[in-house]
């Protein structure tokens, strides 16, 4: 995947960190100090559709462009910049009874983005 930087408007992963202290949750969430949520943003032209990590090579880009041109005449449907890889978020927190709970929440942190 590609991390967003500069003025590129292509599909990329934008880092976004939620600081638990900033939102007033640091009293009940013991660890970690924040949530590296991240999200996907950017455009997905048709010729990069179905390519996690955008253009793997020049040849695949050209092939996809050909496919996209063929498909665009028959079907509408756009391509979206979506997460292609995620990892769990490990939390240590107090529940309602002030017990301490340790759990892994699956698929919470976006690690990479690509075009659907």
């Amino acid at each position: 995947g590609i991390n967003c930087q500069g003025a590129s408007r292509m599909c990329c992963r934008q880092e976004f960190f939620v600081d638990f202290r900033e939102i007033g949750w640091h009293d009940w969430i013991i660890q970690p100090e924040g949530y590296a949520m991240n999200f996907c943003t950017g455009q997905c032209p048709l010729h990069v559709a179905g390519m996690p990590g955008i253009s793997a090579s020049f040849h695949t880009a050209v092939l996809n462009l050909l496919k996209a041109n063929a498909a665009s005449s028959t079907a509408g449907g756009g391509s979206c910049c979506v997460p292609t890889s995620r990892r769990p978020l490990s939390l240590l927190y107090y529940d309602r009874d002030s017990n301490i709970v340790k759990t892994d929440i699956p698929d919470m942190v976006v690690e990479a983005c690509g075009c659907s």
């Binding site: 939620v18 949750w25 013991i30 949530y35 509408g76 449907g77 910049c81 107090y94 017990n99 892994d104």
Partner: protein, 218 residues
């Protein structure tokens, strides 16, 4: 949803200003965490635990990881709960400890393992052995029926661990575990430290979500 004809949700940067986008993301993050933890709102701490007790409990548990790694999807269904004791009725040689579990613990989950951790300190220069009988009592029973008991021989000051059986696991699943510690030796009751700063007894429960029927498409 790429299949709909609407605008692609990832292309929102064209319609949202930075501050709105940030607010939206923060709300999304909060909602996402609460949803996944099956909470309707953030917990309000009614019985806060001292930082000392928390630190000690975590230190005791650190390094006690299971030797065998579980399958990825199975691991995602598991979590651990540390419940600190509330001290109930006590006398000169016995102490009752109450542990409360609720929310995700009750219903639809299976308590797989329950470990009871407690701290014992003998008086200085004393060399003695102390027998401790740990009784598991039936939850919410006015007569506190005994369900099982364990005899422990303690001959050194420090933290001690006791793996509790299925009766205790069942009690945790029902939301309430009562233990009674009975000293059987002549050791002074004060040698057993309960609830003092970082030496508060606790139960560590390993819990697994149950009732998920896996359907495999062929």
């Amino acid at each position: 949803n790429p299949k709909t004809d609407g605008p692609c949700p990832a292309c929102w940067d064209a319609t949202f200003d930075l501050e709105s986008q940030r607010e939206l993301l923060l709300d999304l993050a909060k909602k996402s965490i609460l949803d996944k933890l099956h909470l309707s709102q953030r917990p309000t701490l009614s019985r806060p635990v001292s930082r000392g007790a928390l630190k000690t409990a975590l230190q005791r548990l650190r390094g006690r990881r299971r030797e065998t790694l579980l399958e990825h999807d199975q691991r995602q269904e598991e979590y651990e709960i540390i419940s600190f004791a509330d001290t109930g009725l006590s006398s000169i040689n016995q102490t009752r400890l109450e542990f409360h579990f609720s929310g995700r613990t009750t219903g639809g989950v299976e308590v797989q393992q329950t470990r009871f951790m407690f701290f014992v300190q003998f008086p200085p220069n004393a060399t003695q052995t102390m027998n401790i009988r740990v009784l598991v009592l039936r939850p919410y029973d006015t007569n506190l029926t005994l369900t099982s008991q364990y005899l422990l021989q303690v001959d050194a000051s420090g933290w001690h661990q006791l793996l509790l059986g299925p009766e205790a696991q069942a009690a945790c699943s029902q939301g309430h575990l009562t233990l009674e510690l009975v000293l059987e030796s002549q050791a002074a009751h004060s040698s057993l430290i309960l609830g003092g700063f970082s030496h508060r007894p606790f139960v560590a429960a390993q819990v697994r979500v149950e009732g998920k029927h896996r359907v495999r498409r062929r």
